[in-house]
Symmetry: C2
């Protein structure tokens, strides 16, 4: 791109690089009004912008942060990213972006690369909180969001998963449902899923596992069949009971609805449904979808502010979880 350096400008202006540097750093006391104006003119004329990487170098500073996203294709993550990016741009940090495509090995190599690129800190949207790479990291320069590790090792930003689901489940119970199911991607050790499931169990005390329906990730068609037959059986055997489903995110919600439609069941007549996450398109589904709205953008801004603060104060401290509240949106799907 642009090749102009502080040296070129100094020559063009007929002054020393020191003067140019002083000008750039607003040390106007060190030059005459005349040279000041002249340097200003040359700089704007040639559209010169100092190289910020070199500046970091000279100042022995580091304004680069890394971001590792599990899957940028997920609209939730994209919105979080917009929040992160807003905060860091504002603060004059540059942001190196990596995406793991939901693959743990890719994530590992992304994080290694971020380290090799000498970033000051990393924000992580973990693919799998068990990834051993995390054990090599320190809470001094890491913030996670959405999913956390089982034992809290890093500061994290997340929504009030348990409480929100508990509340929504209670609403469904009040609405007269006899049998409720929690539909989710495999819980594995993903805290987000586990916490949402715990909220479900808190509201309605089923034995663990009896009312948990796993859905495979997109693309794994074998186990999809298992899911579909499970749903079909529940519906066929429901008799006079009112059955309802809570889906742990929008993608799972779409999966459930596809299966239901395939078997010609419609909500809220044949079954009730509610979901975590809200998106635009839910407003045009009829009947309206009851859902849990989360402020994804704020998850991003909060995570970014948190990391920025840690880096500036150089204090990691005890890892804590920062909770962003959610809103229950009740429509007509149960």
């Amino acid at each position: 791109m642009e090749k102009l350096t502080i040296n070129d400008i100094a020559k063009l202006a007929g002054v020393s690089t020191a003067t140019v540097s002083n000008f750039l750093n607003h040390n106007y006391g060190k030059m005459s009004a005349k040279t000041r104006a002249h340097v200003a003119k040359i700089i704007t004329e040639h559209n010169y912008h100092p190289n910020s990487v070199a500046r970091d170098l000279a100042k022995n500073d580091n304004k680069t942060i890394g971001v590792s996203i599990a899957d940028i294709t997920n609209p939730f993550s994209a919105t979080v990213l917009s929040g992160i990016s807003a905060v860091f741009n504002q603060a004059g940090y540059r942001m190196i972006f990596t995406n793991a495509d939901n693959d743990q090995d890719t994530e590992t190599s992304n994080i290694l690369r971020l380290q090799a690129q000498n970033v000051a800190g990393i924000i992580i949207d973990p693919v799998n909180p068990d990834n051993p790479i995390y054990q090599t990291l320190s809470n001094n320069d890491i913030v996670m969001f959405d999913r956390q590790m089982e034992t809290l090792t890093f500061d994290s930003v997340a929504t009030n998963n348990t409480e929100a689901v508990e509340e929504m489940t209670k609403r469904m119970m009040i609405a007269g449902y006899d049998e409720l199911y929690f539909v989710s991607w495999p819980l594995e050790k993903v805290s987000t899923r586990i916490k949402r499931y715990q909220g479900f169990l808190r509201a309605i005390r089923y034995p663990d596992g009896t009312h948990l329906i796993p859905v495979p990730y997109p693309g794994q068609s074998e186990s999809l069949v298992t899911f579909q037959t499970q749903i079909k059986r529940i519906m066929e055997q429901r008799g006079n009971k009112k059955v309802g489903f809570f889906t742990m995110n929008a993608s799972v919600f779409v999966q459930l609805l596809q299966t239901m439609q395939h078997n010609n069941y419609t909500y809220p007549t044949d079954y009730g449904v509610a979901t975590y996450e809200e998106f635009d398109w839910m407003t045009v589904m009829r009947p309206g979808i009851s859902c849990i709205r989360q402020d994804s953008r704020r998850i991003g801004t909060d995570a970014a502010k948190l990391l920025k603060k840690k880096l500036e104060t150089k204090e990691g401290g005890v890892p804590t979880t920062h909770i962003i509240p959610t809103t229950l949106i009740i429509r007509d799907s149960f």
Copy 2:
């Protein structure tokens, strides 16, 4: 983060930094098999990774590219980004990410910052192709996608907008619609919108503007009313005519449906509809939505490969547009 440098490794291994460097660069001819093995051991033992920024510095190379996204919240852009990121990671480039939140001034400052950060090249998803900042850029190190400038100044990657819409519009005509409308965010000078609109006009020769319905961007509620009354009037005055709508993207589609539902009109009975873009959730809308599917990921990978090639051959050449084909998905919405 990690503090190990080539110096530390050299000391730990009891060799010179030169030897370590040679090892890292696979110049094994310059050391004995014994030291080679020993250095290898030390490096893996301490999990050392050379600082890639310093390496670029020393080699006077530059493996940093910048990305300027108009609005990462748009699922289309996010998918494109995943493609870009896959290609560049693979190739050992790091990627500085910026997001303009659909604001031209933010975009301008983002691009300026990318330049100041001394990136080798930039991929741009333009907010407004008229942004004067573009005039300061050269085709040698820029690739755009989705939207292009009026006069082609940079290599661009886009879908076959005109042909796809033309084809879909024809299908609607064949289905017996008497009156068709093209619903779109304001055309302004955004090529994507203009080209889609041209495809519409090619299929059905209305005088320019008579069947073009602008929708405001999300958040601009004043002009939303204008849109809503316009739709209402068309529906009320349609008499026995079959009217149909083509929406230029998914967001506009949702807007249209909201308005229709508000007035108790349902497709395909009261009106027909089709849209550019396909998303997951369209598969659960009933009746099914006819739409134009584009391979967003590939737009990203192609744009990235293109830029990479330009940078490596140092040849900009004549700006051309690279077209990615689309697929028509016909369901039951018209």
